[in-house]
Symmetry: C2
């Protein structure tokens, strides 16, 4: 399947990710709670179904935003930030029902697993967060050769804490790392669509400018 403009990068400079593994990744608080959900639908992956029913806390048959936010946690157990959850809903709630059904969940789960592999690959020091050098390397491997000032802006904007004048900037947790990468991709592609002669310059009006910026996650 394709995630369109939101996907993990296709042209990967890093080793091809291993097939996603669905267990023990620490991102689903509730996955360990073995539960007797409704029967596995015909053709459904039983393991995936068990994750789905674990996240669907009220057993309504669909995952609400609240349930998704309860389930999605970073390596340090902090919840995913709202803007990342909203981005995930905008990608995977394809029928715009406001909830995630089992079919949509399969896509969401694979997407997060793919990004987890990317995150783990670039979290070289296994700190659980992406620091400046790791961020630069990740973006470079995705094909974005950004200047040091831009990298510093991204590092500060998506850091999981405010940046103070002392010590290195705080790292970027998983949720914000995914959002940062998707934002860079979305903004760059939007710029390139306007830059039809590919000279690195665009002429745009205020409406176009604001529209591009406000459409990025």
């Amino acid at each position: 399947m394709s995630y369109g403009q939101y996907g993990p990068p296709r042209h990967q400079g890093y080793a091809a990710p291993p097939p996603p593994t669905y267990g023990n990744q620490g991102y689903y608080q509730q996955q360990q709670q073995a539960r007797q959900g409704p029967q596995v639908p015909a053709g459904a992956d039983p393991q995936l179904w068990s994750y789905f029913t674990a996240v669907d806390a009220d057993r309504s048959g669909a995952i609400s935003v609240t349930e998704l936010q309860q389930a999605l946690v970073n390596g340090n157990w902090s919840k995913f930030d709202l803007d990342t959850v909203k981005m995930l809903m905008s990608i995977f709630d394809t029928d715009r029902s406001g909830t995630i059904n089992f079919t949509e969940f399969a896509g969401l789960w694979k997407y997060i697993s793919d990004w987890q592999n990317v995150f783990r690959h670039f979290d070289r020091d296994r700190s659980g967060s992406i620091e400046g050098r790791e961020l630069a390397e990740a973006l470079r491997s995705f094909g974005y050769n950004l200047s040091p000032p831009l990298l510093a802006l991204i590092e500060a904007k998506y850091a999981s804490e405010p940046v103070s004048g002392y010590g290195p900037p705080p790292g970027i947790t998983f949720d914000r790392f995914v959002r940062a990468c998707v934002a860079v991709k979305t903004l760059t592609e939007a710029f390139q669509r306007v830059d039809t002669d590919r000279d690195g310059w665009v002429q745009i009006n205020y409406e176009q400018f604001m529209s591009i910026v406000l459409s990025a996650p």
Copy 2:
């Protein structure tokens, strides 16, 4: 005092805000906990000092990011989102210590009080959140006459829940309303600085474009 580019709008189309009142606003979870903090420093407003010591939970004499996040809640008791807290720290942690001292806190408190007055003024239906029409009116009164498509993008981006295909878009809570207004202001002013001949068009390169976007809160 001036908040520079981050301030509540100066040219207000709405009634001049009343002087800030510092009590019973529901934004400080801990303000009701009467506490015996350190002695009020000479010249300090005793009421403001009592709020400061209430937020400074570990009595270190300075407010950490964590303490600030614990203290700042919206009308519906949801915590301020991280990006708004980071924005506040970037404005008010003027000595870049990573914490807010009492002097910095006085500015922060006034800023939030001013924005609360703005928020309450435009929350016409007293729902505790800003909906589409209220947002349009607020931005218009600040001098931003945005097109309906841009207003819809802002409404969706800063909504406090994902937008589904059913029903009206969810509203914008206080924290995200402040961030939305500051973002529109920052982006518009950055565009205008490049648009030196004021014809509504700019010619910018990728580096400038990304730098403007990533510098907005």
